[in-house]
Amino acid sequence: MTWNEFIWFALPAMLLWISAGVLVYTRLKRSVVDGIMLAGIGVFVAFMVGFWIGLERPPLRTMGETRLWYSLFLSVIGFLTYKRWKYNWLLSFSSLMACVFVCINIFKPEIHSKNLMPALQSIWFVPHVTSYILSYAMLGAATIASFIQIRKQGRGLADQQLYHLMDNLVYAGFGFLMLGLLMGCVWAKEAWGHYWSWDPKETWAFVTAAAYLMYIHMRLRKWHPTFTLWLLPIAFILLMITWIGVNYLPSAQGSVHTYS
């Protein structure tokens, strides 16, 4: 199988994923929604297996191939976390994200051959980046929830249910953030000889993790609730700086992590 056949698998897979993401809001039986989602994943896996055989090597080399894994992991992990936490939007969101990466592969095929520099050619590349994508999604959702809670808090009635949702999102998001970070450490040791070099990107990742840790620990006691809530938007700004902003900071010129 080659990229030429991709479209015949990608379209049905996307259709199934999006259907699951929409039908989850209806009164349709949960098992049917699950079945649709899994069918989508099945179609996608079928292509990847065939493609792998066709290439005679694991499809891990080009950006296009890497995106296949993003789509797969996003749909699978999104489905699992949805099953675990029962938040419908989690399924819709991860389906949508999975489709975005499929679409890039369909509409920007010339990027298939984007050359992967040697340091990026590692089995850690895909899980490291997907883990971060999932964590950004959850922490982003937690930030939105925090704004709602700040308003409710301002009116003097914090919503315990919402707190529960926020904390779960932060815990899950932070879990993925740390997994991404730790995989990055192992990878860095393999590629550059040290697991942590305080490169600007790493420094900002440290700062971001510290901010979420402050939130997690402050939530263990009920002192200073307003400050605690504001930690989430602040942490999310730090997260955005780590992800996108670092490339523009003067302190980061020459960082090993800026791939432009």
Partner: protein, 420 residues
């Protein structure tokens, strides 16, 4: 709102006291930094780090034995944890905004240098905060281990994992050695350079048998013959060469690649043929059509290298078609490793494929970038890091803890009011 009436330093201590403590540590740190300069990690060389590390563990244990003491509870409690993490966050922010340097020149008296902002990880405030975090976390872990509950496994995994990681990375920093060795093809080298450029001799010798590189196919682009800038200047177009057919548009020319040879040598008549040898370079036979007037050009182009001239295809008086330098896909050093006791080993070293030789890890580090695949030498980094096993165990525990967090979430329904 009873708590607000409580005056400071009256037990139980909470945020005001913890924040005051962390600020105090920072002030002491900056005074030390200003007067005696950066913390000297070489003072911690083994066995000093081992002994001091043991002292920290012992201290945590003694404190945890006094766990009913309000100061111990405060030191290992939530407000202190948040304040310490907040302090580290603050220093991390300063570090993230100030370009960090390896060495500060003598006589550099700018405030950022004097206060250690440009070398944050060896500055006193950072080192002191690290120390108290380790102590607080250690005491907390011991305290919780005294009433061990299997249900707290996520707590143990996260905190013990992080503690071990911090402990081994921090104390181990002094023992870590990193050197770079440059080896010419066919020669054996024993000398290495440290990050100051001093030459040292190691009990490890390396012979470079062969350095090879695979390259990605290069790209085509149209450049201005005067300035050399790729066109259109606002957003240059590039056409990636790959398996034929390749065609596309660059600026206002339609490009069709008729032939592509990844390893080519020029013939006397300026055509190319395939030869597999180090001096070969990519070459392509290209046909272009100017969309504005239909003018056709056709010819061979090549990016060349040290062994062969490049070749371009003129399009007009102003513009020509060129091939970019290929990017490396993989580079491999075929080496033999010798130790003083006479053992010998063979290895193929590549990026992401390090090799262990006794206590040393060998990493493919670099080569002669200008010569590219014709590089006559390779650069290898040698890393000695005896604490790395402890770091890996910490990473594994912490990763398990993270997995627990994303699976279990927050089990507490509501925040509790007080410690214990």
């Amino acid at each position: 709102m009873e708590e607000n009436k409580r005056s400071m330093w009256q037990f139980p201590w909470r945020y005001p006291e913890s924040i005051a403590f962390v600020l105090g540590v920072l002030v002491v740190g900056y005074v030390l930094q200003a007067f005696i300069g950066s913390f000297d990690f070489s003072l911690l060389l083994w066995p000093v780090n081992g002994i001091l590390g043991g002292v920290v563990i012992l201290l945590s244990l003694l404190l945890a034995l006094k766990r009913k003491n309000p100061i111990v509870q405060w030191l290992s409690g939530v407000p202190m944890a948040v304040s310490l993490i907040g302090g580290l966050l603050l220093l991390g922010l300063l570090m993230g905004l100030t370009p960090q340097v390896k060495h500060i020149h003598h006589g550099d008296t700018s405030p950022a240098s004097v206060l250690g902002l440009r070398q944050m990880t060896t500055s006193w405030p950072f080192v002191l905060l690290y120390f108290f975090t380790l102590l607080s976390l250690g005491t907390l872990i011991m305290r919780r281990l005294f009433h061990f509950r299997i249900a707290d496994y996520a707590f143990y995994l996260n905190h013990i994992g992080l503690w071990l990681l911090l402990f081994a990375a921090g104390w181990g920093a002094a023992d870590m050695k990193r050197y770079v060795m440059h080896i010419r093809e066919g020669e054996v080298e024993w000398r290495v350079y440290n990050d100051r450029g001093d030459v040292l001799e190691l009990p490890v010798g390396i012979r470079l048998n062969d350095f090879t590189m695979e390259e990605y196919p290069p790209q085509l682009t149209v450049i201005d013959r005067e300035t050399g800038n790729a066109q259109p200047e606002s957003k240059p177009d590039y056409l990636q060469l790959e398996e034929l057919p390749v065609s596309g548009r660059l600026a206002h020319w339609d490009i069709e690649v008729e032939q592509y040879i990844h390893q080519a040598i020029r013939n006397s008549d300026s055509t190319y043929h395939e030869v597999f040898m180090p001096g070969a370079s990519p070459a392509a036979l290209v046909k272009t059509v100017d969309r504005t007037n239909g003018e056709i050009s056709r010819g061979w182009i090549s990016c060349g290298n040290r062994a062969q001239l490049y070749m371009t295809l003129p399009l007009t008086n102003e513009y020509m078609l060129v091939m970019t330098q290929p990017e490396p896909k993989r580079f491999v050093s075929d080496i033999n490793i010798y130790t003083e006791d006479g053992t010998e080993a063979h290895a193929l070293l590549a990026v992401n494929k390090p090799h262990r030789a006794g206590p040393w890890m060998l990493y493919q580090y670099g080569y002669d970038y200008e010569a590219g695949k014709l590089s006559s030498y390779t650069s290898i980094e040698l890393v000695y890091d005896p604490w790395v096993v402890a770091v890996y165990i910490g990473i594994i525990l912490l990763a398990a803890g993270s997995a627990c967090m994303l699976w279990i979430g927050n089990r507490r329904k509501e925040a509790t009011d007080d410690v214990e």
